[in-house]
Symmetry: C2
Subunit: 299 residues, 2 copies
C-alpha cells in the first residue's frame, strides 16, 4: 500500500531522520517517564532528535535538559509548545504573552529549530466553559498574538511554526484548522516568506484535507518547518488520546512525506503519539523500538 | 451571545420552521421508538416536518409511513440517506447502486424535497478494516457514484444533497469533508447549477470552517437544499454519538443560519442529534419539547 515516489528519502535502511516527540513516552504504565531518562533511552538507540514538551523540561530543569542533550549529541526537531493566544480577559492575554516569551527563551536555550504554536480555541472551552461562541473573534486574537510574538522571535532568530490542528479541536485547542488557513496567516504576517514564520505539518491533523498537496506546495521549503507523524485509527475512541502508531491506521504517510520532501523539506520525521489505552500502557523502551521499526517501514 | 442579523427569520415566536430528524429520538432509554409513534408525537406538538432514516422507514413500512405523514399533514425536510459510494470490490459497487436506486424511490414515495447523501469513506474502514489508504481514490469513486445516481435522480425530479461530514469522519463515513469540496463536485456534475445537485449544511460538520461563510455564498439559493442543527459540546466524549442540544455547545447557530438565509434559504431547520448518554436516555416527548424550546431560543 505504501507509495514511495522517487523524490522521497529512503527511510528503510536506518532511522537517522527519526525524531521522538517526548509526549509519545511521557507516562508509561500511568507513571511519568522522566525526560532525562527518555533522552538516555533515545540516545541508546541512536535516535538523533527529540521534541520535548515544556512541562517535561520544567520538571527535569532547563539547564539539566540542555546539558543532557549536549552529552548525547541530541538535537531538537522542534519545541512543544507556545501559543494559546485567545483570551477573555486582559490578564489572561498578558499571562499568555509572558508565557510565550519564556517559551521562546527556552527554545533558544535548547537550540530548537522552531517553536511550535498551538494557537488556542475559544477561551475557556478547554475547561468546558467557553466564554463565547465567536470563533472569528478568536481567530483575530490568534493573528494578533502571533504578530506580537513574531517580533520577539525574529529578534532571537527563532522560527515560529504554526501547527494547524484537526477541526475536531477547533473549539478547545486551536482555531487554526487547515494548512490553507495557517498559510493565510503566514502570508499576512511574513509576506516576504522569510522563514521566520511557517507551519508544522502533522499528518494526524491534515491527512483528510482534499487541498493538502496543493497547500504543501504553496508552503514551499522555507515555511515547512516540521513534519509530525502518527496514524489515524478506525475506530478512534477518544478525540485526543487515541492516536495510532504508524502503520496501524489509514494515513498514507509516505505519500504525504513525498509531497513535503518534493518541496525540499529534509528534516526529521517526528513521532507524536498520545495513546492512553495502548502505547502509554507499555514499556517506554518497547515504544521507542516500535517507533524505529515503524519509521523504517511505514513513514 | 446569539446574533440575529436583520435578514434572518424570527424563530422566537413559534416553531413553524422546525423539523425533527427522527434519529434524534430513535432509541429512548435504549429502546427503539417506532417511527409511526414519533410522527404522532411530532404532529401532536404541531411540528410540521421530519426527516426519517431509511432503517426506521423499513421497520414501519414505506406505505404506512407515507400514509401516516399524510394523515398528519407532515412534510419532509429531507430523506436520510443515500450514498456510501466507495467500494473495494465490484459486487459492493453494484449493491450500493441498487440500494441508492431504492433510496431514490422511497424519497419520491415520501415526497422528500431531497435525498441526503453521505458519500462514504475508505471502503471497509467503518467496520475497522480499511481496504486501502487511498483517500484520493475513494473521492474519485464518490464523484463517479454521484454522477451515476444524478442521472436517475434527474429523471425522477429528486434533488441530491451532498452532506459534507466533519473531517473526523473522513476515514469511515465520508471523504467529502468541507462545503468547498462538496461544491467543487457540484460544479463539475451540475455546472448549470440547476438545483438537481446541492448540499446539506449541518452546522455540526462545518461550524469550524474558516471558509464557511464564503462557501455558503458560493452555494447560493439553488444549491442550499437542507440546513441541519445541533451543537458541539466541550468536551465531546464520543466522535459519533455525543452531539449536543442547541444552546449547550459552542456553535453560533444564528450566525450560520443568517448566512444561509441571506442566500435565500427559506426551508426548515432540522434538528439531528445522536446522543447515547444524554438525549437518547430521556423520554422522547421531553426531547421533542426541548427541541421546540431550543429552536426558538438558540437557532
Amino acid at each position: 500500500m505504501a507509495l514511495r515516489p522517487e523524490a522521497v528519502r529512503d527511510f528503510s535502511q536506518d532511522h537517522r531522520w527519526l525524531s521522538i516527540n517526548t509526549a509519545t513516552v511521557r507516562k508509561q504504565h500511568g507513571q511519568d517517564w522522566p525526560l532525562l531518562e527518555i533522552l538516555d533511552a533515545c540516545a541508546a538507540r541512536r535516535i538523533r532528535a527529540v521534541s520535548p514538551w515544556r512541562d517535561q523540561v520544567a520538571v527535569a530543569g532547563l539547564a539539566a535538559t540542555a546539558e543532557r542533550l549536549q552529552t548525547h549529541g541530541l538535537t531538537l526537531s522542534g519545541y512543544c509548545r507556545g501559543g494559546m493566544f485567545t483570551y477573555a480577559a486582559a490578564a489572561a492575554r498578558q499571562a499568555a504573552r509572558d508565557d510565550n516569551r519564556r517559551a521562546l527563551d527556552e527554545a533558544c536555550m535548547l537550540k530548537a529549530p522552531c517553536l511550535v504554536l498551538v494557537v488556542g480555541g475559544l477561551p475557556g472551552a478547554l475547561s468546558g466553559r467557553a466564554a463565547h461562541r465567536d470563533i472569528a473573534g478568536a481567530r483575530q486574537q490568534v493573528s494578533e498574538g502571533i504578530a506580537e510574538l513574531l517580533a520577539d522571535a525574529r529578534e532571537r532568530g527563532m522560527p515560529l511554526a504554526i501547527e494547524p490542528l484537526h477541526p475536531m479541536y477547533a473549539a478547545d485547542r486551536s482555531s487554526i484548522n487547515t494548512l490553507e488557513q495557517a498559510l493565510d496567516v503566514c502570508d499576512v504576517l511574513d509576506p516576504a516568506r522569510s522563514g521566520a514564520l511557517g507551519v508544522a505539518v502533522d499528518v494526524y491533523h491534515v491527512w483528510w484535507d482534499p487541498k493538502l498537496q496543493q497547500q504543501i506546495e504553496r508552503a514551499g521549503p522555507k515555511r515547512l518547518l516540521a513534519f509530525h507523524v502518527c496514524d489515524w485509527l478506525t475506530p478512534t475512541t477518544d478525540l485526543l488520546n487515541d492516536r495510532g502508531m504508524m502503520g496501524d491506521g489509514v494515513i498514507d504517510i509516505p505519500r504525504i512525506r513525498g509531497w513535503v520532501e518534493a518541496q525540499g523539506y529534509a528534516g526529521f520525521s517526528e513521532v507524536e503519539i498520545f495513546s492512553t489505552h495502548n502505547w502509554w500502557q507499555r514499556d517506554g523502551c518497547e515504544v521507542l523500538d516500535t517507533c524505529i521499526e515503524r519509521h523504517r517501514r511505514w513513514v
